[in-house]
């Protein structure tokens, strides 16, 4: 039941822009491939062609030796090729069964054959290891479960080649492990898997071969075991990259904390949290998905209902009722949800950049000239790559959108900046740029809070890392003890010291332990 794919000189143009310049390579059946490339390298477009969402401008796609041209994703599905999108394609209000058979409903005469569909759903759910009632509405599932439903959907359609785009982006380590186990099982069943990810450690663990694309061209295909992560990154970028992280500056000492928070509670998400940030310090926040980190800071900014004991900025008590108060005090927040909360993708770059500091441009009339000058400066400072200053934010690539979002929250010149997942969905090169930017911010004497699910970057970047689990601050790890293992152990509750304390260490203890 395996499937062999050959790309032969695939060319794709969007209007006058050529994004694939004649890509040729094969995918042998029953193997797991890691497809690597920076944002804009053309890997998503190629996979969309393979799965019938796009049609090539030139070149031929061979499936099992036959030239094929899919007219739609349905066509490709019929041939056994299914793409699982990064943003899921599930109808939230329909049940698991209804989603799995959406557009492929079984019928008996004029009527839907509910019993047969339910039975088949149970079968594929068992296959992917999801223990849920098939009649559960998808809305009630967590992200990892939705992912499993997507895979189950593919299996129900007899997928022989599965393309997964950043499947672990929103998964916890435990869920990621489960996914890897499932992938191994699928491979054993003869399913070919194309795995697209920026997370090189995962690629290293799960794939047989690595395929690298760059600038719309095929670069290489090599067995995974013959490559180091560093070599993979170098192949993606096209030249040797120096260290991803800047050299750490020594942790600032002795200074009065820039921001001090005590007794912050966000009902349902975070309880009685206290922390502080010194000038020039980079403070990390680690934790699993659902640990309450994002909600904690949304509460701090007045975006969620919350209670707070005391907030001090440079030693004096302040009140923050809404984000406006925060900006006025010199605290800004970059949301993890770039499209939903971070940027107006339909707006121009200029309008996005100045939105948080617009009052400084209004006297009372706005000065487009001054705004444009600010944009020019920001484009230079933040390395935002754009053909013209006069485009919409949506036309930027993911990494450049993120840089614009960063420029936006830094535009009011905050004293403290809270960056939630600052490198989510950006490629290696842009990540490096952002890390160096964060260091620059700290060197300028600002307090920087970095909330991240990528433990590597917290370890590589931060002076101290606070770890949250189940809505509580469990540990404050300082630079000497900062390792991925340490953070994971606190985040998952397997740390020896935490266990010794009956899994409920008082905040004070864990804080002092960190210091």
């Amino acid at each position: 039941m395996s499937i062999a794919v050959r790309f032969d000189g695939i060319v794709k143009e969007f209007g006058p822009v050529r994004v694939l310049h004649g890509v040729s390579f094969d995918l042998a059946p029953g193997r797991v491939y890691g497809l690597l490339g920076e944002n804009g390298a053309g890997k998503s477009t190629l996979m969309k062609i393979l799965s019938g969402y796009e049609r090539p401008t030139g070149g031929t796609l061979h499936i099992d030796g036959e030239p094929r041209s899919f007219k739609s994703s349905r066509d490709a599905e019929a041939a056994g090729i299914v793409l699982i999108h990064q943003e899921f394609n599930l109808a939230e209000d329909l049940t698991i069964t209804q989603n799995i058979f959406l557009g492929h409903e079984r019928k008996r005469g004029w009527w839907l054959d509910e019993a047969a569909m339910r039975a088949d759903t149970l079968r594929v759910l068992r296959q992917v290891g999801l223990d849920k009632d098939p009649d559960t509405p998808v809305r009630h599932l967590i992200v990892a479960e939705k992912q499993l439903v997507e895979i189950a959907k593919a299996l129900a359609r007899n997928a022989r080649l599965l393309i997964m785009d950043e499947p672990t982006a929103s998964l916890t380590p435990g869920e990621t492990e489960a996914l890897f186990t499932l992938m191994a099982r699928l491979q054993a069943d003869g399913v070919t898997i194309v795995y697209i990810s920026h997370k090189l450690d995962e690629v290293e663990r799960t794939t047989d071969d690595v395929i690298v694309m760059r600038d719309g061209r095929f670069v290489t295909r090599q067995p995974t075991r013959e490559l180091t992560r560093h070599q993979m990154a170098t192949l993606m970028v096209g030249r040797e990259i120096s260290d991803l992280y800047p050299d750490k500056d020594p942790a600032p000492t002795g200074a009065v904390p820039l921001l001090r928070v005590e007794g912050l509670t966000v009902p349902g998400w975070a309880a009685d949290i206290a922390f502080d940030v010194k000038p020039g310090e980079i403070l990390g926040f680690a934790g699993l998905v659902g640990a309450g980190r994002t909600e904690l800071f949304e509460g701090l900014l007045g975006l969620r209902p919350h209670q707070v004991g005391r907030i001090e900025l440079e030693g004096r008590a302040i009140r923050i009722r809404n984000p406006r108060d925060a900006v006025d005090q010199g605290i800004t927040y970059l949301s993890e949800d770039r499209k939903g909360k971070g940027l107006h993708v339909g707006f121009g770059l200029r309008e996005n950049l100045t939105l948080m500091a617009l009052e400084t441009y209004a006297t009372p009339w706005l000065k487009p000239g001054a705004e444009t000058r600010a944009l020019k400066t920001a484009v230079q400072d933040f390395g935002i790559r754009t053909g013209s200053l006069d485009v919409k934010a949506a036309s930027l690539s993911g990494g450049n959108q993120q840089k614009l979002a960063l420029a936006k929250v830094l535009h009011p010149e905050p004293k403290v900046v809270i960056l939630d997942e600052p490198t989510r969905g950006v490629d290696v090169g842009a990540k490096r740029d952002i890390y160096f930017l964060i260091q620059r911010l700290a060197r300028e004497g600002r307090g920087v809070v970095v909330v991240s699910s990528e433990l590597m970057e917290l370890v590589g970047l931060c002076h101290r890392v606070a770890v949250m689990r189940g809505g509580r601050l469990r540990a404050m790890v300082d630079a000497q003890h900062l390792t991925e293992e340490e953070l994971i152990s606190h985040a998952t509750g397997t740390n020896q010291r935490d266990q010794a304390n009956g899994d409920k260490p008082s905040e004070e203890e864990s804080m002092t332990a960190g210091r």
């Binding site: 209007g15 984000p323 949301s335 339909g346 450049n400």
Partner: protein, 335 residues
């Protein structure tokens, strides 16, 4: 920063093609208006006369002024269905107020001035109430204004016993020049319309408030996270529309000197249509005051042309308006 050629932006040629497309969509309403004017002139040469142009513009003034305010509300992602009823009620209340004051104040000019001020204040207060119900009360704008649509008109009907509320003759004589006088050959309502439109365009495009309105309509969450005081901006938007309704009403009252339960019927649809025909998306986020003005003029030109000819059966007038609206919407549709 490291110098690399990643994250390639679309090359300039592509950009230019797109901006040409967007420019075409911006001129859609103008194109429609020009074509209509050519058609009107061919059907009846009197259409092109200055007098007729002024008639049309003066008529458009009420809907046009309301549409400018409506444009802000729609761009912010809201809607106001009550404007027609609100205008009728303001007209009725202001007339009653002036008639009452005329008994105690012996200066008709002062009475009229108070009436005019009251008109704008009443509009602002009604709009403010809408805004507070929508933001603090967390009720959908469609529902709030559908409710007040009925409430405003019912109160007018109640005040007038179902008949008309009519302005005293002496006051009417003092007040009517506000509608009927021309300054430099242009009637006062047209001047006011022009001033409101220019002010509206400036506020929308050149003030922080205007930018916030667009930001909220484009994505309310993003605006909230970007420290925009969403509730306050929304309330201000409805109050602004209310004030626009007040201004339109203070021009309307001197025309007929009366308000009745049929006053302002369906104005809300005309105002919303003017905004949308002018290229503003009903879902909010972006829009244009100039487009709105053109949209409003376009709508009244259609009925003007129909009145000036007998080519088309009177039974089909509404159909012609429908066709023209759809065609203009087609011309300015987004790709």
């Amino acid at each position: 920063m490291v110098d690399r050629q990643l994250d390639q932006p679309a090359p300039p040629r592509f950009q230019r093609a797109r901006s040409l497309g967007s420019r075409l969509h911006a001129v859609g309403p103008i194109l429609g208006l020009v074509l209509l004017c050519v058609a009107g002139t061919l059907l009846n040469p009197d259409f092109a006369s200055l007098d007729n142009a002024m008639n049309v513009l003066t008529r458009t003034a009420f809907i046009g002024i309301i549409a400018v305010g409506m444009c802000f509300v729609i761009i912010s992602g809201g809607i106001d269905l009550s404007v027609g009823s609100m205008a009728a009620l303001i007209a009725g209340m202001v007339i009653l107020l002036m008639n009452t004051l005329a008994g105690s104040i012996d200066q008709p000019v002062l009475v009229v001035a108070i009436g005019m001020a009251a008109s704008v204040v009443l509009g602002g207060v009604f709009g403010l109430a809408h805004g507070l119900l929508i933001t603090r009360g967390r009720i959908e704008p469609f529902i709030v204004t559908l409710g007040t649509l009925g409430i405003f008109r019912a109160y007018l009907t109640y005040f007038s016993n179902g008949g008309a509320i009519t302005l005293d003759d002496t006051l009417s004589d003092v007040y009517s020049p506000v509608y009927y006088t021309s300054v430099i050959g242009v009637p006062i309502p047209v001047w006011v319309f022009l001033i409101v439109a220019v002010a509206g365009a400036l506020i929308l495009n050149r003030t922080a408030y205007g930018r916030y309105v667009q930001a909220i309509g484009s994505n309310e969450q993003v605006a909230r996270y970007a420290a925009v005081n969403v509730d306050r901006i929304k309330v201000m938007t409805y109050a602004l529309l209310g004030a626009c309704v007040g201004i339109a009403t203070l021009l309307y009252v001197p025309r007929l000197g009366s308000s009745s339960p049929t006053t302002g019927l369906l104005w809300e649809l005309e105002a919303i249509a003017a905004v949308i025909v002018g290229g503003t998306a009903l879902k909010g986020g972006s829009g244009s005051i100039i487009g709105t003005v053109i949209g409003a003029v376009l709508l009244s030109v259609i009925s003007n042309i129909l009145n000036l000819t007998s080519v088309i059966s009177v039974y089909l007038n509404a159909a012609v308006q429908g066709f023209v609206i759809i065609i203009v919407a087609f011309l300015q549709r987004r790709k």
